[in-house]
């Protein structure tokens, strides 16, 4: 027994150190002053700005932060040896968290405030609210369609302004001018400033539009001229082969060959040519040549290639057709003088025109650039204000009360854990938030299924790499869904890895190999066998009863000798199965305990007496007792008397059947009978008490109201009393509901306990899979000797490491993650958690701007 105490002390010490370090670390990282919850700290600030404010607060009761200790048992045993139990104190102590974004056990109390504002004061008030970003607004006219609300005129005005600003912003962005972005929380302009901004923005827009229009028309002119130049340049190459083949078109034959010159988009040439050929029945020639320049199409603003073409044809009618076809294909027909000298004259003319336009264009563009820089410097601030419009409508309030939203404060560490809970359901207002407990229990349950400290180290390394990578902006704000998801859960990964190292050390497995940190406490030599026997005997039985063979428990975790044992699996299975039960039942019990706290917080005394109390008694008398006898058997039954040890399974069945004849300990029969009786009594208690109590109180209420009716005939008083208290009560309904709850709970206790056995199954599967990987792959490679050994080892090692990552870390990790998730969502949370609240979403310009940026990014 002394050794037990010693071990427990050591373990506790270690664990406290670890946890304390963890919390200390968190605390250090947190900003802000000491504890203390301040709701709506900035309230008076914005109240000042509006005239005639009537303030009505319905301030919620402040919850005191309770310190809760969660006990998780974790026992292990050497075959039938004195055990050693350690207690881990997982203290999610709220005051150790940084106070500003600290996670609390309940959502932060909120106040429902009714503001009565004159319409003139509504705007500045809403501005202040939006800047502070601390208040969630209620839409009190949800049925009214958006354009029938009070401030429609203003909204439309801001709509226009938004349109103007968006135009400016896009132009600025297109030009690549940097916009001055404010990181600090944006300020909304006052209504007078808003008008000012509007007029300035509009004049800027007009100016910009004009300049842009000029720019585009100049560019179009320039393109046209360049095309013309290209045509004239290309013409010489068209005409020379023609003149060579037929030196002079002979007018005497009566056939006059005419030509049309023009420009057309290169992409349309093939069908153009085909159509020409079809329509003109071959009486036309098409020459074309692509221009080297790339032009910008006027409508789509995409780059296009254009070609110069020359069509030669005979006959008037065909000429008409050719003209029409050119028109149809958006070809531009240009006049072209036939003689070389005229052409050259024209070319030089064009040259000068081009240079003129170019200078004008550069000047215009410079001006435009300046305008845009000017716009860029102010546009960001203006963008803020467009968001006012949406919310201005909410400012006329009526009184109405709905379920308040839950404000759950998180920081970057607790964020991911809170998300795990929120994925199931957001805590109702002031309901106990399971997230703080999840921070410890989730990685722990994961690690029980993923116990291998080699794998844990890899996971920790990965999480640390993520933390390090988080320094760069691109990773933090990545739009890649998978990356951002993994990055969001980086602290979960870190804790999962750390806990896996811990459980891996207890299972004594590192890539399925045990590690000899201390020497084994089993001794073969004490068996007093001959050396020959030991060497040639394939089955050696080490009997712990034999003095000197077993020297007390291994200092920490499982003795490495078990890895060589033939009955390793038998031993581990029994150990892990009991461990699962020892973890699961307290976990569920803790859930019930939280439900008790919940009801106490809301002062639901009837529920505590009629529901929670019988539930707690049922669970602890039948299932808690199971935990106790498991531990008792570990402690009490030593190797010497282990042959006579009773079977726990049979004992437990006898407990339910009220049968006797057991010998685990002396007063077992009486104890068990009374416990079973207590458990059985709990069922009718749970089933009947609540409906009956409800029925009685309902009857009493009815009688009271009847008496008051008889006593005084004032219809005014009784009328208002009755309305609030007349609640429809149907005994049969209540009874059915309670019956369903009872059946669910009682069966749930059994099935949930069985469900916790997944801890055993998954850790077994993980251990076996890594064992297989080691023995089938890497040990083959390690077997090689000599010079060639490295070359043989290399491919084996590659395969081993790849498979380790893919199967053991990713696949097994995901499956353990899912099962841990399920254990939390179903087995733990269904004991106390409703999760039908909604998140607090404050009206804040900053959030609105962020969400806007995200939508524009994607």
């Amino acid at each position: 027994m002394t050794s037990f105490r010693k071990h427990v002390g050591k373990e506790l010490c270690l664990f406290f150190q670890f946890h304390f370090f963890l919390f200390h670390f968190l605390m250090r990282r947190g900003k802000g002053p000491g504890p203390g919850v301040v709701t709506l700290p900035a309230l008076p600030l914005w109240l000042r700005c509006s005239h005639q404010v009537l303030l009505k607060t319905a301030r919620g009761k402040h919850s005191t932060n309770t310190i809760l200790l969660l006990f998780t048992y974790f026992g292990y045993i050497y075959k039938v040896q004195p055990f050693f139990l350690e207690l881990h104190f997982y203290c999610s102590i709220s005051f150790l968290f940084p106070s500003r974004n600290k996670m609390s056990f309940r959502s932060t109390p909120l106040a429902l405030i009714q503001l009565l504002l004159p319409s003139a004061g509504a705007y500045p008030c809403m501005c202040q609210i939006g800047e502070k970003g601390l208040v969630e607004l209620r839409d009190l006219n949800p049925g009214v369609s958006s354009f029938k609300r009070k401030f429609v005129g203003e909204i439309l005005r801001y709509d226009n302004l938004e349109h103007t600003l968006r135009y400016l912003y896009e132009e600025v962005m297109k030009e690549g001018v940097t916009v001055l972005e404010d990181e600090v929380s944006p300020k909304a302009p006052s209504p007078r400033d808003a008008l000012d901004i509007q007029s300035r923005a509009e004049s800027l827009q007009q100016e910009l539009q004009e300049v842009t229009r000029n720019c585009t028309s100049f560019t179009a002119d320039l393109t046209r001229l360049i095309e013309y130049q290209g045509l004239l340049g290309a013409l010489s190459s068209f005409l020379t082969p023609l003149t060579c083949s037929s030196p002079s078109p002979e007018p005497s034959e009566g056939i006059r060959m005419s030509s049309v010159y023009g420009i057309i988009a290169t992409a349309r040439i093939p069908s153009f040519e085909l159509l020409l050929w079809r329509c003109c029945c071959g009486f036309s020639f098409l020459h074309h040549e692509e221009l080297p320049q790339t032009f910008v199409a006027s409508q789509t603003e995409k780059p296009v290639k254009r070609s110069v073409f020359m069509i030669s044809y005979w006959g008037e009618r065909i000429g008409e057709k050719v003209q029409k076809i050119c028109q149809g294909f958006h070809g531009r027909i240009l006049q072209c003088p036939e003689s070389l000298t005229e052409r050259e004259k024209l070319l030089s003319q064009l040259e000068s025109q081009v240079s003129e336009i170019k200078t004008v264009l550069t000047q215009t563009e410079q001006y435009r650039h300046q305008l845009l820089i000017q716009a860029g410097s102010v546009v960001w601030g203006w963008l803020v204000q467009e968001f006012l419009q949406e919310r201005a409508t909410y400012s006329h309030l009526n009184s109405q009360f709905e379920n308040p939203p839950s404000l759950l404060r998180t920081n970057k560490f607790t964020y991911a854990f809170q998300n795990i809970i929120n994925a199931y359901g957001v805590a109702s207002y002031l309901e106990l938030n399971p997230a703080p407990f999840t921070i410890v229990t989730f990685p722990f349950l994961f690690a029980v299924m993923f116990g291998d400290f080699g794998h844990g180290l890899l996971m920790v390394a990965f999480a640390l790499a993520l933390l390090y990578a988080g320094k760069s902006e691109s990773v933090r704000h990545s739009t890649n869904e998978i990356l951002s998801m993994i990055y969001g859960g980086r602290y979960v990964l870190l804790l999962m890895g750390l806990f896996s190292i811990y459980t891996g050390l207890i299972y004594n497995e590192c890539f399925s190999r045990p590690v000899m940190i201390f020497s084994s406490s089993w001794n073969v030599s004490a068996m007093s066998m001959s050396d020959d026997d030991i060497r040639h005997n394939s089955y050696l039985t080490l009997d712990p009863v034999f003095p000197g063979v077993f020297n007390g428990p291994y200092p920490f975790g499982i003795d490495p000798i078990w890895n060589m044992a033939k009955n390793k699996l038998n031993f581990l299975n029994s150990y892990k199965m009991k461990m699962s039960i020892l973890i699961g039942i307290p976990h569920m019990g803790f859930g019930l305990f939280l439900s008790l706290l919940n009801h106490m917080h809301f002062s639901h005394w009837r529920d505590i007496l009629c529901v929670v109390l019988p539930q707690l008694l049922f669970l602890s008398s039948l299932f808690g007792y199971l935990c106790l006898i498991v531990i008792f058997k570990w402690v009490y039954w030593l190797p010497i008397n282990s042959k006579n040890a009773p079977s726990l399974l049979l004992d437990y069945i006898h407990l339910f059947m009220f049968q006797g004849g057991r010998k685990l300990y002396g007063t077992q029969e009486q104890t068990e009978k009374s416990l079973a009786a207590l458990g059985y009594i709990c069922i009718p208690w749970l089933l009947f008490s609540k409906p009956i109590v409800m029925y009685i109180s309902h009857r009493r209420k009815e009688q009271r109201s009847l008496m008051s009716l008889q006593a005084e005939d004032s219809p005014l008083l009784t009328g208002c009393n009755d309305d609030s208290e007349k609640i429809d009560f149907d005994f049969a309904d209540e009874f059915m509901l309670q019956a369903i709850h009872t059946i669910e709970f009682c069966l749930g206790c059994i099935s949930n306990t069985a469900s916790y056995l997944r801890l055993w199954a998954l850790s077994l599967a993980h251990a076996e899979l890594s064992e297989v990987l080691w023995s089938m792959i890497l040990s083959n490679g390690l077997g090689a000797t000599g010079v060639k050994a490295p070359f043989i080892l290399l491919p084996f090692f590659c395969a081993f490491s790849c498979l380790t990552v893919v199967i053991l870390l990713v696949m097994e990790g995901l499956s353990a993650f899912l099962h841990a998730l399920r254990l939390h969502w179903v087995e733990f949370q269904n004991k106390f958690y409703h999760g039908d609240g909604q998140l607090f979403s404050p009206f804040s310009f900053k959030l609105l701007l962020n969400s806007r940026e995200q939508t524009t990014d994607t």
């Binding site: 958006s146 079809r278 149809g328």
Partner: protein, 350 residues
């Protein structure tokens, strides 16, 4: 191909998912109720913003007109359609192309009629449906006769096979254009019907009723519209698409019909169509025959979404979207012209 549903998702699963997503964005009855309440086109814009259309009108300058709305509605539909077309494999790609052919026919006819009335081609092109535009479209006006139209222009387009029945040396006058349109449509519908039958499976099962109805509707409308024109009964009979339920007895009777009552009598033999003719009239509370046909078409198209692994959903989506455009434009017109009496005459889809 038998059991094609097993392999359908390999090539077309993504697009079917997409089109079903798009279908979710089609305006519901409640949306229409809200739209009808609008007082100005700006209100309409505000309302459409809260639907799947989002901010599709956000960058339009302030005095909004119905034609701008119409263009933007069409543009959105064309963007969606061309996205699907660009990601489609055969045979879906061919099927989607076939959907556009009907718009191509409309465009060709529009352009020819326009040129006949001495309109400039640049004025006509914006009126064409963007889904049916093709490269040679704008050169259509050079043709003087149907033969020329075919030989020079349409021979390179997918419309060529439909055109073979109407090659003649006659001039293009209004009557002939109408005949060409209906002949083209007839050939188009019949070959679309055949293609759907060749595709077989659920596609045929879903598409055939829609196309049958389309064919019968055309036959009935052609008959009704031909009363009082110089179109002879023999010519009229040639224009009836022969893939509907009316074929062959109903069509033969339609060919003999002289007035509206006789058409109605023909429809009485077919329970589906008999229903449509009931309650038709121009009095308040009654609907026009055209609207009744549209309603029936919408009903058939909605049915296509009840089955999976077939191409009918794409056709139905395009048709429903077209109907939605018509509805919104109708409501917008009523609002713009302050003519609220008939604003409820749109055809709700879901």
């Amino acid at each position: 191909m038998p059991f094609s549903e097993f392999t359908f998702n390999v090539d077309s699963g993504y697009l079917e998912g997409l089109v079903r997503g798009f279908k979710g964005g089609i305006l519901k009855r409640t949306d229409y109720v809200n739209l009808v309440q609008c007082d100005t086109l700006e209100d309409l814009k505000l309302h459409l913003q809260s639907t799947d259309y989002g901010s599709f009108l956000a960058n339009e300058a302030s005095p909004l007109t119905v034609s701008v709305i119409d263009d933007k509605l069409k543009e959105k539909m064309v963007v969606e359609f061309s996205h699907m077309r660009n990601h489609a494999y055969e045979p879906l790609a061919g099927f989607l192309d076939f959907i556009t052919y009907s718009y191509m026919i409309d465009n060709v006819i529009l352009l020819i009629t326009g040129t006949l009335h001495q309109r400039a081609i640049s004025e006509l092109v914006p009126k064409c449906h963007p889904l049916g535009s093709f490269e040679q479209m704008e050169a259509v006006n050079i043709a003087q006769t149907p033969a020329e139209l075919y030989n020079a222009i349409l021979v390179d387009t997918p419309l060529a096979p439909f055109f073979q029945d109407c090659i003649s040396e006659q001039d293009l006058d209004e009557m002939n254009i109408e005949i060409i349109r209906n002949t083209l449509y007839k050939a188009y519908l019949e070959s679309f019907f055949n293609i759907c039958n060749q595709l077989g499976g659920t596609t045929a099962e879903m598409m055939c009723p829609i196309l049958e109805f389309e064919a019968d509707r055309r036959a009935i409308i052609i008959t009704i519209n031909s009363f009082g024109t110089e179109l002879s009964k023999e010519d009229r009979a040639k224009l009836f698409p022969r893939c509907g339920k009316l074929h062959p007895e109903g069509l033969a009777q339609l060919a003999r019909a002289d007035d509206y009552e006789q058409v109605k009598n023909v429809a009485d033999y077919y329970p589906d169509y008999k229903q449509l003719f009931e309650g038709v009239g121009s009095n308040p509370g009654e609907k026009t025959l055209e609207d009744r046909f549209f309603e029936h078409e919408v009903k058939l198209n909605i049915l296509a979404f009840l089955n999976q692994f077939h191409f009918g959903v794409f056709y139905s989506y395009v048709k429903l979207k077209e109907q939605e455009c018509r509805n919104i434009v109708w409501i917008a017109e009523c609002i713009a012209q302050r003519h609220r009496a008939k604003i409820d005459n749109y055809i709700p889809i879901f």
